[in-house]
């Protein structure tokens, strides 16, 4: 392929020839014609020799497996084999995603002898969850004067599945540390009712069952007063996270993306809920993705979620009406629904109230401002966005609150705290019963 510089130089040479011929100055004509032929021969020889050899380079890109964890470096190997019977030098680079930090020999210049094989290694450190493409390897070579370039995309592509970082989801902490972390705060798990554990005593009222009368306490204060034993029963609440996975959640920039940050906080909250012996499930929804993980009182849904989100990325649009409608058919009325979305879609919020009906739901509006690009050079952009964004998000919250839903604005720093406090609020107020 001729480069822009090649086209320009050929045009300039042709113009030179015509002008020199019009002037009729013999020596300038010779000069112009030779110049044109030197340049065009350079491209022609390149096309006939070096350019044809590039496609005969065999490149194999490989790794131990195609799974990775966020922030964990993963090593890849590229093997080059020159299948030409003449030496060949070329540049190469690996196509990658902007969510990968690359190190090592992922790009460079190689000069290979005939049938020589060379192996290069590079390291990829993902900084966002999801499935991303790595490769193919692009090999390109230029002519001596850099007027033409030949590029070939050799090798296969690798679909790298990036799971959340262990450091972010707290799953790999030791039991003692995790107990300390998870059991801070209120963990009220029981309520008065029919059970086996004694809770307290209260004065007898007509209608109480005789079998609960505390006979040993008769006449303890007034002489003929009668008390009944108040028992307590286990209180279990299932939480289902309805997570918007449409394009509206694909905001943010390098290393700080909305869906990535929210997912880490959802997983952390899920572990906390799980420690409280409550059930947790998920519904990841968009027009392109529909993944329902039913609530269970084990760690299985959380592990499944981690697998699922390492294989997808937000795409399509989100419909609250469709998602709630779907959930209504799958879950019990007592299940608490945590709806997490950036609410970037034009759906009438009033209709949500009617669809949810007697189901329990809390809303979390993700604030895009938390994910705007940082750095000194973007200060004006951030300052402009701050007020506008804040008023939009506040308005969304007010609309949802006016419909009677507990609603929080969450960002990259406070999502976990607000999710956990909402869960505890639901427990304390027996909402999910």
């Amino acid at each position: 392929m001729i480069r822009k510089a090649g086209y320009l130089i050929l045009s300039a040479s042709i113009y030179n020839i015509f002008e020199s011929i019009l002037l009729g100055y013999k020596y300038y004509i010779i000069f112009s014609i030779i110049l044109f032929f030197v340049f065009s021969s350079d491209i022609l020889i390149f096309n006939l020799t070096t350019a044809r050899k590039v496609r005969n380079v065999e490149v194999e890109i490989s790794a131990e497996n195609e799974k990775a964890r966020k922030f964990s470096p993963k090593e890849f190997t590229i093997a080059f084999l020159n299948q030409n019977n003449s030496p060949l030098s070329f540049h190469y680079y690996v196509y990658s995603s902007d969510t990968f930090r690359m190190a090592g020999d992922f790009e460079g210049f190689l000069a290979l002898k005939p049938f020589e094989r060379v192996v290069r290694k590079f390291i990829v450190t993902p900084n966002t969850i999801g499935r991303y493409r790595l490769g193919p390897v692009s090999v390109y070579t230029e002519d001596g004067m850099r007027f033409a370039i030949e590029r070939a995309e050799v090798s296969r592509t690798i679909d790298l599945k990036v799971a959340p970082a262990l450091s972010e989801i707290m799953a790999a902490r030791s039991e003692r540390i995790s107990n300390m972390l998870y059991y801070t705060g209120i963990h009220y798990n029981k309520k008065a009712g029919q059970g086996y554990d004694f809770l307290t005593l209260r004065e007898y009222v007509p209608g109480d069952e005789i079998r609960y009368v505390a006979w040993s306490m008769i006449g303890r204060t007034k002489g003929d007063d009668l008390y009944v034993k108040q028992m307590e029963e286990e209180r279990i609440m299932d939480v289902i996270f309805l997570i918007d996975y449409g394009n509206g959640m694909n905001q943010g920039h390098d290393g700080k993306r909305m869906f990535d940050s929210i997912m880490a906080d959802v997983i952390k909250t899920s572990y906390k809920i799980r420690k409280n012996q409550d059930g947790v499930g998920y519904f990841i929804s968009s027009s392109d993705i529909n993944i329902f993980i039913p609530p269970e009182r084990t760690a299985t849904p959380i592990e499944n979620l981690q697998k699922v989100i390492s294989d997808i990325r937000p795409s399509g649009s989100f419909s609250m009406r469709y998602s709630i409608d779907f959930l209504r058919r799958k879950i019990k009325k007592t299940t608490m629904i945590f709806v997490i979305s950036s609410f970037e879609y034009g759906e009438d919020p009033v209709s949500v109230r009617d669809i949810i009906g007697s189901y329990k739901a809390m809303f979390f509006v993700v604030n895009p401002y938390d994910f705007v690009v940082t750095g000194e050079e973007n200060r004006t952009l951030r300052a402009t966005l701050f007020h506008k964004q804040r008023s939009i998000v506040d308005r969304k919250r007010e609309i949802l609150r006016s419909l009677g839903f507990r609603t929080e604005i969450v960002g990259s720093r406070d999502a976990y705290r607000k999710l956990v406090s909402s869960y505890l609020y639901a427990k304390m107020n027996n909402i999910g019963e």
Binding site: I9, I21, L22, L23, G24, F37, S40, S41, D143, G144
Partner: protein, 278 residues
């Protein structure tokens, strides 16, 4: 920093080599034509390529527009003063559109392209600017030769030479041969210098291409072959065109040579082949 400076000095030296033919022509033409030019326009533009290099990057792109604005304002002042729209005393600030003005404009094009070519970073810019500068100065040399022989006003002769070129272009396209070639008709006094200049220019262009290109072993081989084959093909093409001009088929010959080469380049492009296969 040191390396960058060294690089840019080497670049300017090589560019000087490339621009040698227009430099020789400028040395010959300028002292002889200077007196027929408008000094205001000449000095306003002639040093701009050098001034541009010494002022901040932010204002660099404003240099030519500002100079053009000054020139246009001066012309407008002259128009207004001579038509009586503004007091006559302002005429001193005006620049009349007359023969010296036109000579200055032509000289300015030659000088500015020459100086810009000396400082240009990209090889194709240097060659394009060299072509523009060479052609402008060659026109002037032709006009100067006629001027020396006939003694008619210089600018009239410049227009005459230009008209000869247009006539040649017309006959070339309509009849297939040139009727009147300015520099074929008159002999150039600095011919020897110009031939040497073209040789040095060619060598400098090759050096510049080598410097610009990739210097790995296989690339250097193809580079050497391209110069060898280019020179052989170029010389053959020149003789082919010369022979064809005797049959009045020069235009056809040039067109065939250029189109054949461009066709060969396109035809041999492996990417095109890969596209057709898929």
């Amino acid at each position: 920093m040191g390396n960058a400076n060294m690089d840019s000095i080497t670049g300017i030296v090589i560019n000087t080599g490339v621009m040698l033919p227009p430099i020789f022509m400028a040395i010959y033409v300028l002292p002889r034509i200077y007196s027929y030019a408008d000094p205001f326009i000449l000095f306003l533009f002639a040093f701009l390529p050098i001034i541009r290099r010494f002022i901040g990057r932010m204002y660099r792109s404003l240099v030519y527009p500002v100079a053009l604005l000054i020139a246009v304002s001066s012309v407008i002042i002259w128009l207004a003063a001579s038509t009586g729209s503004i007091p006559h005393r302002y005429l001193i600030l005006g620049t009349p559109i007359d023969k010296p003005f036109m000579v200055s404009v032509t000289l300015v094009i030659g000088i500015v392209t020459l100086l810009e070519g000396l400082f240009a970073k990209k090889l194709y810019s240097v060659i394009t600017l060299m072509a523009f500068s060479t052609l402008t100065f060659l026109d002037m040399i032709a006009a100067l030769i006629v001027f020396n022989q006939t003694g008619y006003p210089f600018f009239t002769l410049y227009i005459y030479v230009e008209l000869m070129e247009y006539e040649a272009l017309y006959t070339l396209i309509v009849y297939g041969y040139e009727f009147s070639l300015p520099l074929a008709t008159f002999s150039i006094p600095i011919n020897t210098y110009l031939i040497a200049g073209f040789v040095v220019s060619m060598i400098s262009i090759i050096v510049a291409s080598y410097r610009n290109g990739n210097r790995s072993i296989d690339r250097s081989n193809s580079f050497a072959y391209s110069i060898l084959y280019g020179s052989i093909l170029g010389t053959a093409a020149f003789y082919f065109i010369t022979v064809m001009s005797r049959l009045s088929l020069q235009f056809l010959a040039i067109a065939i040579v250029i189109v054949a080469m461009i066709y060969a380049i396109i035809r041999t492009d492996p990417e095109r082949k890969a596209d057709t296969e898929t």
